[in-house]
Symmetry: C2
Subunit: 152 residues, 2 copies
Amino acid sequence: MSQEGVGVDVDTSVGLLLKQASSALRSAMDAALRPLGMSVTHYACLEQLAQRPGLSNSELARATFVSRQSMNVLLQSLEHDGYVTRPSEAPVGKVLPARLTAAGRRELATATVAVRAVERRMLSNLTDQEETAARRILWSLIASLGRSTETP
Amino acid sequence: MSQEGVGVDVDTSVGLLLKQASSALRSAMDAALRPLGMSVTHYACLEQLAQRPGLSNSELARATFVSRQSMNVLLQSLEHDGYVTRPSEAPVGKVLPARLTAAGRRELATATVAVRAVERRMLSNLTDQEETAARRILWSLIASLGRSTETP
DNA sequence: CACTGTATGTCAGAATACTGACATGAGTCA
DNA sequence: TGACTCATGTCAGTATTCTGACATACAGTG
């Protein structure tokens, strides 16, 4: 039909579908987080920090798929708002390990409720089997893309 | 393990996985498109226009998950570069139907080669069965999220 | 016909993320 | 020891996208 030699079929391209799904998710999370005065990236940062305390700026940036610089300004605002602490002096080298404050943990807990609701809505039409398949497939996609992306 | 009452498990959250996959895809496509002097959004716009000629600015924006305003500036630059044409007068109402020029179609064809390569690499570790499952699952996610997102 | 509601295109300002660039510290190797 | 390489944190400028706002055009309703 639409495969007239030019373009990728919009309805069957996994890439386009992935982009649309991600955009939809981002919109939904954004809407859910906005009432809390929080952005998706803020949430992602807090999330990572909760599960892996002591991550550095660069490690955090890689984990959330943004640049070091963006994460840096984000961490500064998070620090200013009292959600995150970083030592003023680097324990070793220049690496500043970041940690959640109690306030940060509290913010995260509130945000998690909203995020979980979105995720639950997103998965509402999937069986457990499909959900498992989704995880495996997404992992596979990430792995395949990551191969030659992070090592140019 | 990491479900200590706060946060969503990074390794099992379909939402996080989806975001990571999408970021990885975006990076890969960006890298593939950069040599052609093209951004991912440019490509997406051209793609939609190729398959559904005569789409308006707003329709295009919805199809590519960006705001009308962003799509407007994008269309203006695309128009300036000679890839897209829009009538100076609206045939009906204020809606300006956009169409690809020959140059636009040519650009798209070139870009498609690069994009298809990325998509192929992304899907390289998936069986046909999994690929089909991926489409169905992503569709389901989009549908579930779309329900109450576009009608707040 | 007039009025309301919805949708569109567009302008302007703000927020966000990115690339480029620099200095600093750690590790490696001759 | 000294030079070299690599990773990090940070500053600055640029680019892209978003939200807010306005005027306009069509459809429905009294």
